[in-house]
């Protein structure tokens, strides 16, 4: 998938994904060590979301800050205040859409709103938020509705890929809920919450893996074969 424009971009993507691969498992480890893994749905664990939010923010600064190839960046830095406000409103809207979508998918309608809201916020932060940070509100809206294709932009492609796997992870997490194991983690929304984090993590690991392979391919052309296989897999999906 990655037709990397420059080595620089490749390195950035690798490093930001690596950071994700490190910070996300550490957060999960810490909260499970503190025994609050079963309370991720409660409002009291909002700090996890804040942590992830900050991490994503920093990551995106790294991804697209200093010497940018795209000309868009300059525009966003000019009108920062209105842009931030717009993004914030857009994020809220997306969050609400996720909330409604999750309820339509089968979350309880009348109760457990807090839990559903936490899950939808997590999904928003992991999927749409990096996309907005990278390419702005209009552009991500166009991306969402398929008007604009992202074939050229590697970073956006990675982000969209992350988002898809995150949603898939949350979706797959729901599978364990009806099982009769009667474990505490089968409570709503823990499987979906962890599934989303797992999906995001998996996407990042894949990115790192592929980027490493591609860097290797510059040196050893034989590895190109593997890269091609990986690309084929992606296309068929």
């Amino acid at each position: 998938m990655f037709a990397f424009n420059t080595q620089l971009e490749l390195r950035r993507i690798t490093i930001s994904s690596l950071i994700t691969c490190i910070y996300l498992p550490s957060i999960v480890t810490v909260i499970s060590y503190r025994g609050s893994l079963y309370y991720v749905g409660k409002g009291s664990s909002f700090y996890i979301l804040v942590l992830i939010f900050i991490a994503e923010l920093l990551k995106s600064f790294y991804l697209s800050a200093p010497n940018d190839i795209q000309g868009k960046k300059g525009k966003t830095s000019k009108t920062k205040a209105s842009d931030v406000l717009k993004s914030f409103v857009f994020l809220l809207g997306v969050n609400f859409c996720f909330f409604i979508g999750i309820i339509l998918f089968g979350a309880p309608v009348l109760d457990l709103h807090e839990e559903t809201l936490m899950l939808s916020t997590l999904l928003t932060i992991l999927t749409i938020f990096p996309l907005i940070l990278h390419s702005g509100v209009e552009c991500s809206m166009q991306l969402l509705f398929g008007v604009k294709s992202f074939a050229r932009d590697t970073v956006v492609e990675m982000l969209v890929n992350n988002a898809m796997l995150t949603v898939c992870g949350a979706w797959l997490g729901a599978v364990v809920i009806p099982l009769d194991w009667n474990t505490p983690w089968q409570q709503w929304p823990i499987p979906c919450y962890l599934g989303a984090i797992g999906g995001y993590l998996l996407a990042n690991v894949l990115t790192v893996f592929k980027a490493t392979l591609m860097t290797a391919a510059y040196k050893y052309p034989a590895v190109n074969f593997l890269v091609m296989i990986l690309n084929k897999l992606r296309v068929s999906k």
């Binding site: 309820i103 339509l104 998918f105 089968g106 309608v109 509705f145 398929g146 008007v147 979706w171 729901a174 599978v175 809920i177 009806p178 099982l179 009769d180």
Partner: protein
Amino acid sequence: MITLLQYRWTGLFLLITALGALTLFLYGFFPLKYHSGKFAHMSDLPNFIDGVSIDGQQVYNSGENSVILMVIDGLRYDFVTEEYMAYTGQLLKNKSACIYVTVAEPPTVTMPRIKAMMTGSVSTFADVALNFGAPAVRGDSVLRVAASRGRRTVMYGDDTWIRLFPGLWSEYDGTTSFFVTDYTEVDNNVTRHLDKVLAPDEKKQPKFDLLVLHYLGLDHIGHLEGARSTKIKPKLVEMDEIVKKIYVAMQKWDRNGILIVCGDHGMRDAGGHGGSTPAEVLVPLVVIKSQDFECPHPLGPGPTVAQVDVAPTISWLLNAPPPGDSTGRILPSLLPADTRQHLYLLHIIAERMAKQNDLPTDKEFYKQFERAENQFAHYLATGQQSAAKISKEFYEQSLAEMTEYLNGTTVDFDMFSIVVAIILLYFIVASLLCVTLYSLQPDHSRKHSTTKRGYQSSNAGRIVAFLFMLCLSGSGLIVACFITETKSQLCSFNGLWLPVLLVVAAAFTITYFIMKTGIERIKNLSSLNELNAIDFLLIGGTVFHAWSFFGTSFIEEEHMTWYFFWNTFMFFVLIRSIVVVVMYWSKKMTGATEVQEKPGLDEKMSAVGISIVPKWVLLIALHRYLRTMNQTGDRWLFLPDTADWLNEPENSLYLELHVIIGTIMTVLICVHNLVYTNNLMYIHTALTAAAATCTFCYRVATHAVHAPFEDMKTWDPIIIVSVFWGILMAQFIYEIITYVGFFKSCGVHPAEHAMNSKKFDYVKPKTKTEDYIYDPTIEEPWNVEEVKLNLARSLSHLMLNNMMLVILLLMRPHNVVMVPSVYITCVVSSKCVDHKLLDRRSARNTDVADVLSRTLVHMWIGILFFFYQGNSNSLASVDLGSGYVGLREYSPVRVATRMGLHAYAGPALAGAVLFCTLAAEARDWQQYLKSIWRATNILALHRVYAVVLYTVIATIFRHHLFVWSVFSPKLLYDFVATVFGVQALATIGYIIFLTHVTSWLARVLITRSGLR
């Protein structure tokens, strides 16, 4: 054999064969025979305990007793409290009565429970299927031993007892148990005899030794309104009054009176029963003795006993030996204080169990029994109380363990039949796969393959080959019989079973030949290249779902799997349709040139319009709402759902709203469908409106809806329903008569009145001189095929209309909205799965892929609504109430069809909509037949595929803890679903047959009357 592959109804016949194979499997899985044929006699009572002599009959004697067994159908444990049954609660409190928790084995339906209580042996699961028929018990029972001892037995109540034990009652008055809409008369019919029968005669003796009272009212209320109904309390108070009456009457007798009050099974909160949840399985049993009795157990819930304990207890009280197959014990509170008798009773029961054929003698409990016997003998010889105490303890320990052991090993499966059935099902599913793939080939390649018939061998050769294979498979079966040395009935080679063996061999042969020709002939599956991601989701989901049953929770919560799949499907479609619509709009905005680049896009959009996206979102919301309507499954069943809320009296306005909206929507849909019929002078519209009015009147008459007209409430629902049936019948007959041209020959020319009836006229098509040399219709100057297609269209739509109206009548008030919802879902989603809309590639020939995805989507919708409606894979969710709509008395066939149609309303409606859409969208008669062929094959394939995997799973898990509570009910559901599958395909076959007959009739009539 190629003819067999091409024959349009091979799928149906293979499905019927699969039904036969499934029956064979069920025969092997649910052994019917379970009594040993042992009859107990007084002389069986042992006179020696480990060599020490004892007068068995004298010690056994329990004195003069009259026993009253009062069975309250559906009495669950939490009903016997002081709140509901004040008098009984009082008796329990001052210890003149004892309460026990009895554990009823699943299936918790009445007939097997009665059997268990009377024979003392655990019944088999197959009894649930016989619950309707209730064949007489041929083994030993309390009634038989009582009759053999000359006891006088009297029975009032449920006539199941009389059918189970015919000729053993001295006096009886039965009431039909299945008429659930009546809950007052059934009980009054029992109570009216009480005064007479309880009154002592001149010697102050009661007129009976055993009196059985079976009250059905409570269960009926449960079936109608659930366990939280307001009618429950008055009913329990009524029952309490009867307990009081009996207790007071017993005091006047000059002999011991013992009253046992118990339920046969419990009920779920929703009111059903049949499964194995605590609410259904735990049943109270209250023992009340008229004289010198004090309950030995502390106050509270009471010890746990088994339901089979009732049999030896009553037998002993009647001074008769325990029935031959009894594995129960005597209720502890009734055991005599006299140590000798007490130990003797324990000994009899323990010995009975220890002497069972298959009980190993090297186990610990057997040794314990021998030790206990030893101690008992020691006590008899020396009179030491310590020996008696030890003996008692040992007896009780060994009894507990023996019961556990025997209950665990009572089932033996007929493995030979099971394996043969599974292999046969595999053959059938493989041949169905061949048939389906063959039918999915694009049209031209199939024609090509038929032209190569010259290579085929002669007829005689084929017959020889067939006979050879038949002999081979037959002898293979016989050899298998001898090699495995099975005791299976299938290998008994006598009477009825020899033909069965032959039929199995023939089925093997036929499926083999279908597979063989199929593999040879399937060459071109290019039409499957048109499948898109949604199709793969549909196929993958369907295939995967059958495998999910390896987990028991996925059987109990099957609805979750389907909801999950359906959500995913809806999500996929939503994304796709949004993308298509946005692309279309943005292209249109930016400039017309790009739209012209993709001319297909414009065409796509004009078919559905932009409104598809909001429609689809609304549909998702509708489904979210319907999903909350009925909680189903097992784990979250207790959660309150919308149906509970609607049925609360203060929310009756909303319930009425549901009923009215549902009815009106259905009528609108029906009227909309009438455009396909020969709607002469709007007679069909009038008839439909009349039928709908009938259903509405029925709702008013059954008090589901309030109407301003007081008169209507008093109308007899049964007459309304009869009128309703009459209207539906008239509609069908009228339609066929107009096709035949009956009205024309009567001199009426309807074509002049209604515009659309022209399409049913037989006319000569305008002859085109250029190309009619190759035109096949040259032989037939009339447009017969076009009229046939129109007739098929109209008949399928009429079938759909009538089915919707009937189901509207059968549905519970809160479920009425399901009927229009099924239709709307089907229509909208079949539009969305259309390959022309969603595919980016402009596909050329999507006929086959369309039929495939449509069939699967309709199947999914059907199953989905099956669960929305509150059904599950547990027997408890079967709604008995729907079976009695518009019936005055019990008639097994009618009740069963109604219940079946109600339970499978979703699949039936979705299937009907599918066949209507196929008919409506067919271009010509041949294409219609082809799409029907494909659809039926796919449906049959799915059915058999699900069955074969499930039979394998059930066989693997046959020793699983949940085999009777989870796996077996699902087997019965699968069986019924297969029966309905056969029925559905046969209906379509019937419609096509009817069109042929009608068109033939019409031709005869037209040529006769000379109308040209």
